[in-house]
Amino acid sequence: MNSKKKRTIANPNPRNPMQAFHFLRSLSRINLSTAPFHKRCRAIRRAAYASMARSASPNRAWSHAVLYHLHRRRHRPVPEQARCKTDENDALRRLLPGGEAMDTCRLLEETIDYVQRLRTQVKLMQEIVDSVKDDAVHEEKRQKEEI
C-alpha cells in the first residue's frame, strides 16, 4: 500500500523505456550515415518525433499523424501554421498532429497523451546530452594525463 502513496520518478510511465529504446536505436543509426551538421540535426529531430509516436498507444490519432508526416518526408514533422485570430481550441488543434478533425473531448485526451510523450522525449534527450558531455570531459582529462 505504501508504494502507491507517492508516484515518484522511480515509478514512471511504462512506455518511457520503449521510447528510450526507439530513440537510442535511431540515434545509433544516424551516427554512421549522415555527415553534415544540419542533416544530422534534422535526422535527430525526426528520430525524436518518431520514437514518441512509436511508443504511443496505438489508438492515438496524433501518433499516426506524426508517422504519416515523417513518412512523407516533411521537413517539420509538426506543422505550425501562421497565426491568425481564432480561439484557443483552434490554436491547440493546429499544434496537435492530426488535431483538425477532432471534437473537444478527443482533442483534450490526445493533447494530454501528446504532452506526456513530448515531456518524456525532452527529458530523455537532456539526459543523453548531459551524460555524453560528462563522458567527453572525463575522456579529455584522461587523455591529458596520458601525455
Binding site: 551516427n31 484557443e88 481550441n89 555524453v132 567527453a136
Partner: protein, 90 residues
C-alpha cells in the same frame, strides 16, 4: 458535433481539464490563478497548454542541435558506448 458532446459528461470534461492542468509545469500553473469560472479558466488553460507545447517543440529542436554538435566532437565508438550506457541506465 453537438450530438456527440451530449454523450460526454460534464464530469469527464472536468477530469480531462484537471489532468491537463496537472501536466503543465509549476510556473505555468501559477499563472492560471484560481479556478472560479470553468469556462474562463478552460480558455486560459488551453492557451497555456499551447504555449507549453510550443516550448517543448523548441526544446526538442534545441536538443537535437546540441546532440548533433556532440556527435561531431566525439569519437564514433565512445558515442555509441555512451548510448548503450544510457539505455542501460534508464
Amino acid at each position: 458535433m453537438s450530438s456527440r458532446r451530449s454523450r460526454i459528461t460534464e464530469d469527464e470534461i472536468n477530469e480531462l481539464i484537471s489532468k491537463l492542468q496537472s501536466l503543465l509545469p509549476e510556473s505555468r500553473r501559477r499563472s492560471l490563478g484560481r479556478v472560479v469560472e470553468l469556462q474562463a479558466s478552460a480558455s486560459k488553460l488551453l492557451k497555456e497548454t499551447c504555449n507549453y507545447i510550443k516550448n517543448l517543440h523548441r526544446e526538442v529542436d534545441d536538443l537535437s542541435e546540441r546532440l548533433s554538435g556532440l556527435m561531431d566532437n566525439m569519437e564514433m565508438n565512445s558515442f555509441e558506448a555512451e548510448i548503450v550506457r544510457s539505455l542501460l541506465r534508464s
